[in-house]
């Protein structure tokens, strides 16, 4: 048996005192089991994340031929195009919509998370589960539900007209406001969960101590609760803002083609215009933007695991 040598006392002692030490390399089966654990995930991530993203980077410096094929000839044209005025306007619009959605999510999520964190353990668990439940049903169907409610001939306009409250139907979707609503709706959960987690982690003794010292509720919120929940707030903002830049189907459904976002621009290059190198260049810009935000997040003491 290959395992027997491992059972002598010296290795056992070593293993217990330094549990992070890797097991001895004395058995073939140990080696095989190591490779079975590490190789599939490494290979998968290499082939389907690292190499594809590298290829996007390379492609962003390539030209394309008349038929939309990629020509392997170096050019900076795609990046010149990235910064043309028309496209800059689209990024501005995307960032504006992303920021608005982030702010709305924050305004709803913070009080919600705060009030939920004050409840008992079972109530907490039920409330947080109820936050997650809607997200398991199809997001496009839920988005379209808002259209059903809010469009010109939708439920709300029809009811308001019937009771004589309005004469003209209100334009509530198929505009920028509609897109912001859709984004906030789909991404709210990603703001609530990290904020709730950070609030829930606050040591209650700290708050009691402040109370004993005569601090007011408002003072406690300002001086203890809000500062300690900032990592959750940052994580939530990142989890709402970054995806919102790429959610092209939301602007498609809720905006009805009124606003183009970065996601739509990329989608367009790959599906309609067949200008892959240009689409790749915008994607690279989006990756750079994401990385800048993540570096800022980590500098502020944020942990990557909070972004799950």
């Amino acid at each position: 048996m290959m395992e027997i040598p491992k059972n002598d006392f010296s290795t056992k002692f070593k293993k217990h005192t330094t549990p992070t030490n890797q097991p001895a390399h004395n058995s073939i089966s140990e080696k095989i089991s190591k490779w079975i654990q590490i190789i599939p995930i490494s290979l998968w991530m290499l082939l389907l994340v690292v190499i594809p993203l590298m290829y996007v980077l390379v492609m962003s410096f390539m030209s394309r031929n008349y038929y939309g094929g990629i020509v392997y000839k170096f050019t900076l044209n795609n990046y010149v195009q990235v910064f043309n005025w028309q496209n800059l306007k689209i990024y501005g619009q995307s960032i504006w919509i992303g920021l608005m959605s982030t702010i709305i999510c924050l305004l709803i999520a913070y009080p919600f998370a705060l009030f939920t964190a004050q409840k008992g353990p079972i109530a907490k668990m039920i409330l947080i589960t109820l936050v997650i439940v809607p997200s398991v049903s199809n997001s496009l169907v839920r988005l379209f539900s808002w259209i059903t409610l809010l469009r010109r001939t939708g439920v709300i306009n029809t009811i308001l007209e019937k009771i004589g409250f309005i004469k003209q139907p209100l334009a509530m979707v198929y505009n920028t406001g509609g897109i912001v609503l859709g984004m906030s709706y789909l991404l709210l959960m990603f703001m609530i969960i990290p904020i709730f987690n950070s609030l829930d982690r606050i040591d209650h003794d700290l708050i009691e101590a402040a109370e004993d010292l005569g601090a007011s509720k408002w003072k406690i919120l300002q001086e203890i609760v809000i500062p300690l929940s900032m990592p959750g707030v940052f994580a939530g903002c990142i989890m709402v803002f970054i995806p919102s830049l790429g959610y092209f189907f939301v602007s498609d459904v809720m905006g009805g083609g009124t606003s183009i976002m970065m996601g739509n621009l990329i989608e367009n290059q790959f599906q309609v215009s067949r200008n892959w190198p240009f689409g790749a260049a915008i994607s690279v810009m989006l990756i750079v933007l994401t990385m800048i935000l993540l570096v800022l997040f980590q500098r502020r003491g944020g942990k990557m695991d909070d972004l799950g």
């Binding site: 395992e3 056992k12 217990h16 549990p19 097991p23 089966s29 089991s33 190591k34 654990q37 590490i38 599939p40 995930i41 490494s42 998968w44 991530m45 290499l46 389907l48 994340v49 190499i51 594809p52 290829y55 996007v56 492609m59 919600f112 009030f115 668990m125 039920i126 589960t129 936050v131 997200s135 398991v136 199809n138 496009l140 839920r142 988005l143 539900s145 808002w146 059903t148 409610l149 001939t153 439920v155 709210l188 790429g246 959610y247 092209f248 189907f249 996601g263 990329i266 989608e267 790959f270 892959w276 790749a280 994607s283 989006l286 990756i287 994401t290 993540l294 990557m304 695991d305 799950g308």
Partner: protein, 262 residues
């Protein structure tokens, strides 16, 4: 005391309003799935017609079938690869480990559209046809990191000496793993798998780029219908799907509440 009750009333009202915001669209879906009118404007009368219709709608049913196949296979693969990876990364040192650790966060934080076009590009470079196969590769890719995260958070709480004790008592590493480590990790593995399945079933953006016309999924089928308007049939099938998922969650929650109470 009265002031306090007053305060908690407003707090609960805020929580309630948030839930109205979250659940209003779902209520609309459920109501209109029983509506006799196809127009989705006002409720005209109760019918189960759409429920009967949707199960005979070949397009919707085959899209749903594809989604379930892709969801099941991707979840299985991602759970196996992700669980093994999380354990391996916690136990061994190997070249590129830190890089792998960083790369795992990419699918989580990067806008989905970027991963979608990156996969599409590499498929086209490697001449992999867009099909259920390419779709499964893509779904496994974005599910693995979530499995690793959930399993890893569970691994931290596990006492390593238990597996070592099994080894000392003469169990082979495989037996020790299956009999000791795996059962302890199971809650993490299950939630990772559930998460993967939900992600896969609802994915629009990455599927949009990585599947072919012959292998459309349920969300993509819905996406194609949005322009012309979603029919009550979609509301009906969505209601059925929600019912199944809510049932699973309730069962899970009840067992958890029982555990908390104990």
């Amino acid at each position: 005391m009265e002031k306090r009750q007053h305060k908690s009333f407003w707090k609960n009202a805020f929580i309630g309003l948030t839930f109205i915001f979250l659940y209003l669209p779902i209520v609309v879906i459920i109501i209109f799935s029983f509506n006799t009118s196809k127009l989705n404007i006002l409720f005209k009368g109760f019918t189960l017609h759409w429920y009967a219709m949707v199960f005979h709608n070949y397009q919707i049913m085959s899209a749903l079938g594809n989604s379930l196949i892709v969801g099941a296979i991707s979840t299985l693969l991602a759970t196996i690869i992700g669980t093994l990876g999380a354990i391996g990364m916690s136990r061994y040192r190997f070249p590129g480990k830190q890089l792998l650790d960083k790369v795992l966060y990419i699918p989580i934080v990067i806008p989905e559209v970027v991963l979608g076009i990156a996969l599409l590009s590499i498929y086209s470079l490697a001449s992999i046809p867009l099909s259920l196969f390419s779709l499964i590769l893509a779904h496994v890719t974005f599910c693995i990191p979530f499995v690793v995260l959930t399993v890893r958070s569970r691994l931290i709480g596990i006492d390593k000496s238990l597996e070592e004790a099994a080894l000392d008592l003469g169990a082979t590493p495989l037996v020790a793993f299956i009999k000791v480590t795996l059962p302890l990790l199971l809650p993490g593995i299950i939630s990772g798998a559930g998460f993967s399945f939900a992600l896969s079933l609802d994915d629009v953006i990455i599927s949009f780029f990585t599947t072919g016309p012959a292998s459309t999924t349920f969300p993509l089928q819905v996406y194609a219908m949005v322009k012309t308007g979603i029919t009550p049939e979609i509301d009906a099938i969505s209601t059925v799907m929600m019912l199944v998922i809510v049932l699973v969650i309730v069962i899970n929650a009840v067992t958890q509440v029982k555990r908390v109470k104990q």
